[in-house]
Symmetry: C2
Subunit: 449 residues, 2 copies
């Protein structure tokens, strides 16, 4: 029976910890799934979590640690000795172990690594630490099942039993030649349906997808999603098989990428969560607000420049928030669609055809909105010429805002900058200023103040 | 060698199609991956795509069809006979086949289903069509490897060879009792490392994760992500094993969910893509713009109510876009963090502690911004009392905007409404109106106009 995290269970655990009733804690938790235990621990305070981590078996706690969020894990690791951390690492797959070490302060990393007893595991982790975090090398694990083309099916099965012990899930068996170069793949299914005296060279599938150790992680995610792969082998410059990436790591990459884009669109930089500290949240949010403030102050200057209109057309000034909102909303819509399209590789056609399409869209949307403004004017007995002026200026602002929203992310993308940065406050602010200027400028042309 | 989609290749294919050179088309494409062919076809016009789909083998084209976007697939299926569609369906896994049928107009569905020759496949597809699209039943496939606890390891391996033919990837072998109820699991690895005369009952693992056929798809995604599952069995009300969901379907669910939230934040309803028709894009975007328009017109009324301030404090009106921008940006930031936190289950603590935190955050951010406004006032020689008024009103607006941004998604979520709807234009618009009213109201209290 999986535990359910309730207030009663939380209080029970807290009591057991304060009584140092190790036996009961072990009995309660030892057969639970690490993800469930992690969920329970998230409710406790740091001292209690540390107590439980030190108490439970490291084959369980290593997985629990990987489930906790970075901040909590960092604090717990601070309370563990290098030897204790090394014990956790021995239980983890090489990719998770390398990730955990990379989070430690640099001065501790070396002492932890040298405390790892399994020399092969240690060497593999050290190799992985050499790759940049956001590359295939930074994602891959060394655990994989590898066979040589010269082996027989029977010999293969015998040896796989040994290798597979270290591998949680056997997705594919990778076939290499004498030089350790990847030449093909096999599935367990192929192996058990083959005759036992056949040579691997005769039955393997040479058509194998792979990625290069220096490939960008988002590139790896795209390849795996496109070809529906659950695992992909990683090769180095000499085509040697050096690791394997599984789909669960890619799910994390996709999720992080989506969260980041979402936050950028909302004007939040850095990866933050609702439960982060006020200081961290301020650092993520304040810069965008300051940007917005400067934009707003820019509008103040623009309106001061058109102050002459106050005498006869004071209502123009009542419409500025409407114009700013339209310019901002249209800009965000256009840029969001382009940013998503760029991420999913569906933005086709030339820049010009794309801009023409946005103009068409803006004309339709803008005309509907302009008619509504004119109707509003009729109901509130605004002068028709004045309503028309506002409607026409607004239409102009909408078209320009859509073009800026489309143009900016495409340009950024072409220059190798993440176009997601262009959505949200960036587009809203620039469109606010530009929209208000354009609004007054067109109004001045028509009304002549 | 995988093909690379270039202009030259596109023109080559177009020429081959117009010459009806079937042999060359087949030679060029038959050994390619379906995802690569789909990418190439996306560049062609509908007639050419249909020609190629009719030409190539259905074991290849069925997968290609699943890779194309909904609109294109729909149009191609219109040009195929019920018999031709049925042939495609025979090649697909039951889950994909059911999805494809569900996209057909209702009047065609029946004729296509009755044209399916494989009676078992047909019955399974019909069963799947009975489940709602966004449930475990709507996601699952009938293809799975199932063994009875009474079988021996040797008998099992023999029978699995038969079952596995229909299953692309064997993740887990599910163990059932005589009543077809799920009682446990086995991996191929366990099977090949067991002795051949052992009974399944003695070696299976009874600890198995599963989902219920009526579970929500997002719930399934959460379970699979939490327990790091690559496949999960699905059971019905009587605990009978009825299907299996694989991680690649979940990747799609996560991606769709993220795309939807992102678009809602940007003020776009419906799932649209940059390459959709202008009409579809208008329908997705216009409603939010109209909402923004009404918000803007509301601000016009509010400012008319404070018209008296125009005589002595006309600059107040120059600051309205700034106030609206601040209220909007702060609101979007607060709501985005809450929406993301709710999606990831990281929003803890009571509503009151959450609101207190937002007030703290707004006080810090607001104070910094207020100081900047006062500095701006000093440089542009605004009257100090006036600068202070704007700074204080803005601070008030920021605090209220943050509270609304936090409060609304939490309330919506508690009532079972998707909180993502609260981000973007919804929050911006309500905060615009509310912010501008509050700004003038506070200013009136201080300046007394």
């Amino acid at each position: 029976m999986p535990i359910e995290v309730t207030k009663a269970l939380k209080e029970q655990i807290e009591l057991l910890v304060s009584n140092k009733d190790d036996k009961s804690i072990n009995a309660l938790l030892e057969n639970q799934h690490h993800a469930d235990i992690a969920e329970l621990l998230k409710e406790l305070n740091l001292d209690d979590i540390t107590y439980i981590i030190k108490l439970l078996d490291s084959d369980l706690t290593s997985d629990i640690l990987m489930e906790l969020d970075d901040d909590t894990r960092e604090k717990i690791l601070k309370n563990l000795s290098a030897k204790e951390i090394a014990e956790e690492l021995e239980e983890l797959d090489t990719d998770d172990a390398a990730d955990m070490i990379a989070e430690l302060p640099e001065e501790r990393q070396e002492s932890v690594i040298s405390a790892i007893e399994d020399q092969e595991h240690k060497a593999e982790i050290e190799e992985l630490l050499g790759y940049a975090e956001d590359t295939a090398g930074g994602l891959m694990a060394k655990e994989l099942v590898k066979v040589y083309e010269t082996w027989t099916v029977a010999g293969c099965l015998r040896r796989i039993r040994g290798q597979a012990k270290d591998v949680q899930r056997v997705h594919s068996i990778y076939v290499v030649n004498k030089a350790e170069q990847l030449i093909g793949r096999l599935s367990l299914k192929d192996l058990i349906t083959a005759k036992s005296d056949q040579k691997i060279a005769d039955i393997y599938i040479s058509n194998v997808d792979y990625v290069h150790v220096n490939d960008d992680d988002e590139e790896v995610a795209k390849v795996m999603a496109k070809y529906d792969l659950e695992a992909v082998p990683v090769i180095d410059d000499d085509n040697r098989l050096v690791g394997r990436i599984t789909i669960d790591d890619i799910v994390d990459v996709l999720k992080e990428e989506a969260d980041k884009d979402y936050q950028l669109a909302a004007g939040i930089t850095n990866e933050v969560e609702a439960d982060d500290s006020i200081l961290k949240l301020t650092k993520a949010r304040l810069p965008w607000l300051i940007l917005g403030l400067f934009g707003g102050l820019g509008s103040v200057f623009i309106m001061e420049g058109f102050e002459g209109a106050l005498n006869n057309y004071k209502e123009l000034f009542f419409f500025t928030p409407l114009i700013a909102a339209m310019a901002g909303n249209v800009g965000v819509q256009s840029s969001a669609i382009i940013v998503q399209g760029l991420a999913n590789d569906v933005v086709k056609g030339s820049l010009w055809s794309r801009l023409l399409k946005e103009i068409g869209l803006s004309l339709i949307n803008g005309t509907v909105l302009a008619i509504l403004v004119i109707l509003f004017g009729l109901f509130t007995s605004l002068h028709l010429k004045f309503s028309l002026t506002i409607a026409i200026s607004m239409l102009g602002v909408i078209i320009i805002a859509a073009l800026i929203g489309t143009f900016v992310p495409i340009i950024l993308n072409k220059r190798g900058i993440d176009p997601a940065i262009a959505t949200g406050p960036f587009i809203t602010t620039s469109n606010d200023i530009f929209g208000i200027f354009l609004f007054f400028y067109i109004a001045k042309l028509i009304l002549g103040f």
